[in-house]
């Protein structure tokens, strides 16, 4: 038997097999599944399938995050139905709107654990790879199928090994490194494949930084991204994990379909030009471009370390009068941490607008929609046309430090000028 990657090992176990090969179709029983507001579509599909009982409700959760507080009676009624369904079927957990973004909440609450096969009805599910889980996005109908049947089919992906060396320079964040990788790989550069993050550079990254990498693994078309279990993973999940877990690391002789190397020490602050996520350039090449709205939020970059860096940049400074700065902590816990340590006060004093924890501007259907011709500089993960609800507006992506510095000047700005 040849060596197995993390994806092969976890899919083999979830499929009840000794080993699996790339491109093999495997019928798997997931260890944990979750959803958000769009669970409403799974609830409809569940009924249309004639299903009556969910299989293994102790492995299911919902966290409302896409549109809370609601704007319309229709959305309010949908949220009611999601709450009722989760209660009736005895889901392990239901998180009310405002708790945070589902991907963040599931890690914080210890529901996504190392070595688990996690399925969720959202494209940024791969975020769970930060805790060593194989976390894969599925559609809402498919989630209903899993609720009803307890299993589904997956194709075993080939794996690309990304080796990170060196350390991020001052004023450069994990986001900048990931935007660099997305630019190099391209939109479907890892299509249908898994990514494993390795190397001394990877070992030194925090769970929050790993989250940023795994989250944007979706932006290169990958099925999932994972940091194989190590001491950082163990320290994060110990005392937090709600399920028994089995740390998984790849075999030394595992076969990879591609190798990518990145020296973190070479990474510059990046800004992604409008229209596509793989259009990242060093901040200097975009410097001076006018912006109208700055969004520090999303599952990519709105954790306590992100808000701390933004606060460092904005301390004793003020948001430009022609810019709206929207701050959305990734979860209530993050907001609480930032309130207690003073970062939230710094951001508010600088002129930030605080919004409820959730997907907010990023999902493009709730709050913070842009006007025609406006430009939003965002710490989120996507900037395709229309993403924030108006195809006549433009979106650029960056790190929280660059977002904060640019909010002060009203134009794209290198945050290192404010951090030195």
């Amino acid at each position: 038997m040849t060596g197995q990657t993390v994806a092969q090992k976890i899919l083999a176990r979830a499929g009840g097999l000794q080993s699996v090969a790339a491109n093999q179709i495997v019928e798997v029983t997931p260890d944990f599944c979750y959803s958000h507001d769009y669970a409403i579509f799974a609830i409809d599909a569940f009924a249309q399938m004639g299903a009556q009982a969910v299989v293994a409700p102790e492995r299911l959760a919902v966290c409302l995050d896409h549109g809370f507080p609601v704007n319309t009676a229709r959305d309010a009624n949908n949220h009611m139905r999601v709450r009722e369904f989760a209660r009736k079927h005895k889901f392990r957990a239901f998180f009310e709107g405002g708790t945070g973004i589902a991907h963040q909440v599931m890690l914080e609450k210890g529901l996504v654990v190392p070595g688990a096969l996690v399925l969720a009805s959202d494209s940024h599910t791969p975020s769970g790879g930060a805790a060593g889980a194989l976390a894969i996005g599925i559609g809402e109908t498919e989630l209903a199928f899993v609720w009803a049947v307890g299993r589904t089919w997956l194709k075993v992906p080939d794996t690309i090994r990304v080796t990170l060396s060196g350390a991020l320079p001052a004023g450069v964040q994990a986001k900048d490194a990931m935007l660099n990788l997305v630019g190099r790989l391209g939109i479907l550069g890892a299509g249908y494949r898994a990514i494993e993050y390795h190397g001394t550079g990877a070992a030194a990254l925090s769970i929050s930084e790993r989250f940023t990498f795994c989250n944007m693994t979706a932006e290169v078309g990958a099925k999932c991204g994972v940091f194989p279990h190590d001491d950082v993973t163990e320290a994060f999940v110990r005392g937090r994990a709600q399920f028994p877990y089995q740390p998984v690391r790849p075999d030394p002789d595992a076969a990879y379909c591609g190798e990518v190397a990145l020296d973190l020490g070479d990474v510059e602050p990046m800004v992604v030009l409008p229209g596509r996520e793989d259009r990242g350039v060093p901040v200097g090449e975009a410097a001076g471009r006018k912006i109208h709205q700055v969004f520090i939020g999303s599952c990519t970059n709105a954790r306590a370390d992100d808000l701390a860096l933004a606060a460092r940049v904005l301390k004793d400074r003020h948001v430009h009068p022609e810019v709206r700065l929207l701050v959305v902590p990734a979860s209530r816990q993050v907001g609480l941490d930032a309130a207690r340590n003073g970062d939230l006060a710094v951001l508010l004093e600088a002129g930030a607008t605080l919004m409820p924890s959730g997907c907010a501007v990023c999902a493009g259907a709730h709050q913070g929609v842009l006007g025609d011709g406006e430009v939003c500089l965002s710490t989120s993960n996507r900037n395709m046309p229309g993403r924030m609800g108006n195809k006549n507006a433009e979106i650029m992506l960056c790190s929280p430090a660059t977002a904060a510095a640019s909010a002060i000047t009203g134009v794209i700005t290198d945050a290192r000028d404010f951090l030195s």
């Binding site: 494209s123 996005g137 599925i138 559609g139 939109i187 609800g389």
Partner: protein, 173 residues
């Protein structure tokens, strides 16, 4: 029930059309027939009209990338789309389309072969062989499970049949 061939006129679309462009998030909660009114309207009104009139899409690279929302796939089904060929496709969109009974065939060389908007195309579902004029293309083979879901009509239909069989005591392999 099996579908042997899908045939009809194609709408030719370009590269990097995201799932958000197929159907924006703000239309997610519409009834399917209302979603069809908006399908691909973010690209242009003529594309919207063409897709609603023709059963096949020849799509370029990364069609459906980005959001994993299922509503873009639901909108394409509601608009009468039977098959989408070309690609390569984004994986969540691929699964969502299949689960809504819309066959997706990976056949990237088709998009650049000279096929025109409104041309006729014939797809042999079982073999993945695609016929355009005198030329034959071979798409990536479709696993049995995908064929079964598309043949059932959708994952909802497939799931209903499976649950029905479980209830009546039949053993599902």
């Amino acid at each position: 029930m099996t579908i042997e061939t899908i045939t009809g006129e194609v709408t030719l679309l370009g590269d990097f059309i995201s799932a958000d462009a197929i159907l924006p998030a703000r239309h997610s909660f519409l009834a399917p027939e209302d979603m069809a009114q908006h399908v691909l309207a973010e690209v242009s009104a003529p594309v919207n009209a063409a897709v609603r009139a023709r059963p096949i899409i020849v799509a370029g690279e990364a069609f459906g990338y980005g959001t994993g929302r299922e509503s873009p796939a639901r909108a394409l089904r509601a608009a009468g789309i039977k098959a989408i060929v070309g690609g390569p496709f984004a994986r969540m969109f691929f699964r969502n389309a299949i689960n809504n009974g819309v066959l997706v065939l990976d056949c990237p060389e088709l998009a650049g072969c000279g096929i025109g908007d409104g041309d006729d195309l014939t797809i042999d579902v079982a073999t993945g062989i695609i016929q355009w004029r005198e030329r034959t293309f071979r798409a990536m083979p479709v696993p049995d499970i995908i064929q079964s879901i598309v043949a059932a009509g959708s994952l909802i239909d497939y799931g209903r049949a499976l649950l029905g069989a479980q209830r009546s005591g039949a053993v599902h392999s």
